[in-house]
């Protein structure tokens, strides 16, 4: 990107701890550009250029800022500028036509320290970045809402989770395979393998990085499908605060208070934020559930603090703490006088400390310690049988230590390496054996700029797990800049995932969708116990004979390739191909039917599964102030061993396929096999962001389409074919509107989610239309 930065005369100004910044912004033709947004980070100063294309920030604290200048239809400019006391720095710059900040922030030069020396954008796998501004404009409040609008990402209710948990699915991988990290540290608290993303408020998020594809090399065994790294805000250079309040449908209330300030003359900074969120929940199945909800109501409290102190010129200390509490109760009446009551209290505590030291230019070290505690107290009483069906106090503790080094050997080569270990304990009233899991890991990653156009990356990670042995996972990638308009990226990597305690031992009941999940090791005895209690309608003996213990660890190999093409300045096209090959993928399977048609699942290994597909996204700026983007993913997720068995005519796959609608039956062919449950073939999204200048309003409208996906095997032939139960494809349309006042201090927002009010009883977690109005006020000195 070409820019012109001219620092003109330094004009003395009043005050010794403050300085100023002023400047002029020109467009690509050299004409003055009014209405461009100029931002300074940290501290989030925002200003718009006036009619003459000029802007001025006066009386800002001295320090090093990242300045970004953006305008819809132009490439965002970013750079670093230093504000000195008593002077006003003067900037003149020229913007180039292109796509703007909303999708991706590409910062030239090194990214500021985020608590992790590993460079996500150097991963071999495709990377999507969601900036804070985009999150604000979308009006999204919870993490799952932000993520599900990205191309190729969907939010699913996986079998293993409860009504409360919403999990991600990326490129065909379920949420058990996607690692969630905060500033590079993994978040614990996976309820039955699903991670409840709705627990995380977005109010403190700076940026979200989404890496798709096997990233075990970077992040370890839970990242077969990819990783979502949530980068939080840090390091203010002037005191500031924020108060926000949103209210709307379902009595949703979302209130936040934040404040941060530097102290000791910029040697340190501290910040705190508090958030309260509540919802009434909703019922997507009013026909069969007379009163009560399928998605639960809850109250969520979150408190966060961050502290940063520069110990010396070369070292700094970062401390963070995060506490969350969620209380929820759900009552459901099926209309037969049977009411189930389901309560869950979740507590979530994260503490982190890291020490960052620069030995000499080019050699940095970071040491960190991380502690997480997650506790969930869940009890379900099923009145009919007068028993507590599942009473579950689940506690999970993780201690993690990691030592990282980053070394730059000349301008072309950067090396990062590290080692660490973790100790995880899980005690759960339902688990028969409380256990501990200890791991040790070490990794090295190299980043090599082979030539001006070609960059390569390679990495290697070693993991050792106390129950599943060790594994070495490599990753490779390369990036080639064909010309100024076209670049190509390709990568390959492997991944590894050990079955966790839950898939092996836990018996878990989900009242919302009326199913039971039984861990593999305790399957036979649990079924027998249920049968004694008269709770079983049918057991699929064939499956039972095949299962029973010995779940194997999963291994995957991923290939990704993609290109970014910018044929014209207002058009950008990204396309990619992915291919993931999984051995022994752990998948849930129905092994029995309980009384009242309750499905009973357990886990099995799918010998050879494949997720493959393409994704494409297009960003256009057809007119000034309007940006339109569209994305599409095609996915095929299949278990190859089923296809082979159909082909070979092995029982039970040689049974005829039955169509219950007509009663006809015919011999199956491998092409009759549709694919794995819960994966859609087609996903599509369309977004438009528009800035209406006369009223100074930002508005956007987003439509997401998720193609139909299989829910379960209805005709009893042990694989998904076209006659089985499918959840219909659907559209979700969201829109938001924002207006700022008082020089960007105050913003009013109106958000509408699911405008078409689409619900389906097979999607218990998807609410109908939700409309919220909100107000945010930023407190800072201009």
């Amino acid at each position: 990107m070409i820019f012109m930065l001219t620092i003109l005369a330094q004009i003395p100004s009043t005050g010794q701890t403050r300085g100023g910044l002023k400047g002029l912004v020109l467009d690509d033709q050299g004409k003055t550009l009014p209405g461009a947004t100029v931002g300074l980070e940290p501290d989030r100063h925002l200003m718009e250029t006036d009619q003459r294309g000029e802007f001025i920030f006066s009386k800002i604290y001295t320090g090093i800022y990242t300045v970004s200048v953006s305008m819809i239809g132009y490439k965002t400019f970013t750079g670093k500028i230093s504000i000195s006391p008593g002077t006003v720095t003067n900037l003149k710059l020229k913007l180039e036509r292109g796509e703007s900040e909303l999708d991706e922030v590409v910062i030239s030069g090194t990214r500021s320290a985020t608590g992790n020396l590993l460079k996500a954008e150097r991963s071999a796998m495709p990377l999507t970045v969601i900036s804070r501004r985009t999150i604000e404009l979308m009006g999204s409040r919870r993490l799952d809402e932000v993520l599900k609008e990205q191309t190729g990402v969907s939010i699913v209710s996986n079998i293993g989770g409860g009504a409360r948990s919403v999990g991600l699915q990326m490129q065909g991988f379920g949420s058990e395979y996607i690692m969630i990290l905060i500033d590079g540290q993994p978040m614990v608290g996976r309820n039955s393998g699903n991670f409840d993303l709705s627990r995380i408020s977005v109010s403190n998020i700076e940026r979200i990085e989404i890496i798709k594809g096997a990233s075990s090399c970077l992040f370890g065994s839970d990242a077969l499908g990819g990783a979502v790294n949530i980068i939080t805000r840090h390091g203010a250079t002037q005191p500031q605060g924020l108060a926000a309040f949103n209210y709307g449908s379902l009595n949703i209330t979302d209130a936040s208070l934040e404040g941060e300030t530097p102290f000791l003359s910029q040697r340190g900074s501290a910040g705190i934020s508090a958030n309260y969120y509540r919802t009434d929940g909703f019922n997507t199945n009013p026909r069969y559930i007379q009163s009560g909800t399928t998605a639960p109501p809850y109250d969520n409290y979150a408190l966060q603090g961050r502290f940063r102190y520069r110990l010396s010129k070369n070292s700094s200390l970062n401390l963070g703490a995060r506490y969350g509490l969620r209380k929820s109760f759900m009552a459901k009446d099926f209309g037969l006088g049977i009411i189930s009551g389901d309560s869950q209290d979740e507590k979530d505590l994260n503490l982190s400390a890291s020490l960052d030291h620069s030995f000499r230019p080019g050699l940095r070290s970071m040491s960190r310690y991380y502690f997480t505690y997650f506790s969930s107290d869940q009890s379900v009483a099923w009145q009919q049988s007068n028993t507590v069906v599942s009473g579950d106090i689940f506690k999970q503790r993780l201690h993690r230590f990691e030592q990282q080094f980053a070394y730059a050997a000349g301008r072309q080569l950067k090396l990062t390496g590290g080692l660490g270990g973790s100790l995880e304990t899980m005690n759960d009233a339902s688990l028969t054996d409380a256990g501990t899991l200890s791991t040790f890991f070490s990794y090295v990653q190299g980043d090599w700029q082979l030539s001006k156009k070609l960059g390569a990356m390679g990495g290697l990670r070693y993991d050792r797990n106390n129950s599943y042995g060790s594994s070495v996972n490599p990753g490779f990638g390369m990036q080639y800049q064909v010309n100024t308009r076209l670049s190509i990226k390709a990568g390959a990597g492997t991944g590894f995932k050990a079955p966790d305690f839950r898939t092996m031992y836990l018996v878990f009941y989900n009242p919302a969708a009326n199913y039971l999940v039984v861990g593999n090791e305790v399957l036979a005895e649990t079924l027998e116990e249920l049968q004694e209690g008269g709770q079983i309608s049918e057991i699929r003996q064939y499956l039972l004979g095949q299962l029973g213990g010995n779940l194997k660890a999963e291994r995957s190999t991923s290939f990704n390739t993609g290109m970014v093409w910018q044929p014209a300045s207002a058009v950008k096209l990204e396309a990619g191909l992915f291919y993931h090959r999984l051995r022994n993928q752990i998948n849930s399977v129905q092994v029995a039917t309980g009384s009242n048609n309750r499905n009973i699942y357990t886990y099995q290994n799918l010998p050879r599964a494949v997720n493959k597909g393409i994704d494409v996204s297009l960003v256009l700026s057809p007119v000034k102030d309007l940006e339109v983007s569209a994305g599409y993913q095609y996915l095929e997720a299949k278990d190859l061993s089923i296809q082979d068995s159909i082909h070979a005519g092995n029982w039970p796959y040689n049974q005829n396929i039955h169509d219950p609608e007509t009663g006809s039956s015919y011999t199956p062919k491998p092409s009759d096999y549709w694919g794995i449950e819960n994966r859609s073939r087609h996903m599509f999204n369309l977004r438009a962001f528009y800035f209406y200048r006369p009223w100074n309003i930002n508005l956007n409208i987003r439509a997401n389409y998720r193609g139909k996906y299989p829910f379960g095997d209805r005709n009893g032939n042990q694989f998904i074919d076209r006659y089985d139960t499918f959840v219909s494809g659907y559209f979700l349309v969201n829109a938001a509107l924002e207006k700022k006042f008082f020089n960007q201090h105050l913003s009013l927002r109106l958000t509408a989610d699911n405008l078409m009010n689409y619900t389906d009883m097979l999607m218990p977690g998807q609410p109908g239309r939700v409309i919220l109005a909100g107000i945010t006020y930023r407190i800072y000195r201009d």
């Binding site: 079983i536 014209a568 207002a570 039917t593 339109v628 039955h658 219950p660 007509t662 039956s665 219909s728």
Partner: protein, 234 residues
């Protein structure tokens, strides 16, 4: 590339309208009348078979199961302990016995082959050759007293009281339409019952011998106020 925003809006609206409509995928929808209880695909003894070498199944007698109308409880009778515990009680309303659980008995203590023989309950059943929706009134007590239906299963001919024909050429069970059973329950209440299918998914007819079975589909309505009114629509 210039696209007017109007054009864009138009396309968006088309997409939205297309996605707004959704089919009702509920397979039992046409059986529902709002009052009757519809039981779909209740698993019978899917492990047993009539003959050797049936893949996935074992040649052995079929375990019977009992069914209770009020809470749809399925009670399996697998051994002597289960028999002793449940058969001679009023804990069940109908029993599914015989091959593929296709022979249904109403709980009656007086008939020797009835699972409830010598027990506590006295039910009677008559067959009406009418569609389920059209049965609105239970017949007089004399009809129940004179009824000679002992077991509801295979109909050897049109004159039989059974609920399905067995086709000799294809060896497939075919449910007979327009047969509704009216029950007089031990507590004096009246109920109507329709037996629909023993094949999974309630297909209209079946040609494959290996269609998953038995998965019983049936529906019933119990008139709680004790009257003879069996109309299940308002």
């Amino acid at each position: 590339m210039k696209m007017s925003s109007k054009n864009l809006l138009f396309h968006l609206v088309i997409l939205l309208l297309a996605g707004a409509c959704k089919k009702d995928e509920n397979p039992a929808a046409e059986l529902q009348d709002g009052k009757s209880t519809v039981i779909l695909d209740l698993a019978g003894d899917t492990e047993a078979a009539m003959s050797e070498n049936t893949p996935g199944k074992v040649k052995r007698p079929f375990n019977i199961f009992l069914f209770r109308f009020k809470d749809q409880k399925q009670i399996w009778i697998r051994n002597a302990a289960d028999s002793a515990k449940y058969l001679k009680t009023s804990e069940w309303d109908i029993a599914f016995t015989g091959p593929y659980n296709s022979e249904i008995y109403v709980n009656d203590k007086s008939y020797p082959y009835n699972p409830g023989y010598g027990g506590a309950a006295e039910s009677a059943v008559v067959l009406l050759h009418q569609a389920y929706e059209r049965v609105v009134m239970a017949p007089a007590d004399s009809e129940f007293d004179n009824s000679d239906i002992t077991k509801i299963g295979w109909a050897a001919s049109e004159s039989s009281g059974g609920w399905f024909f067995y086709s000799l050429s294809s060896h497939i069970m075919q449910a007979i339409p327009n047969r509704t059973y009216v029950l007089r329950l031990p507590d004096g209440k009246y109920a109507k019952l329709q037996l629909l299918n023993a094949y999974k998914g309630n297909p209209p007819s079946v040609t494959d011998l290996n269609w998953p079975a038995p998965y019983l589909t049936f529906r019933y309505y119990v008139q709680q106020d004790g009257s003879r009114n069996l109309s299940a629509t308002d």
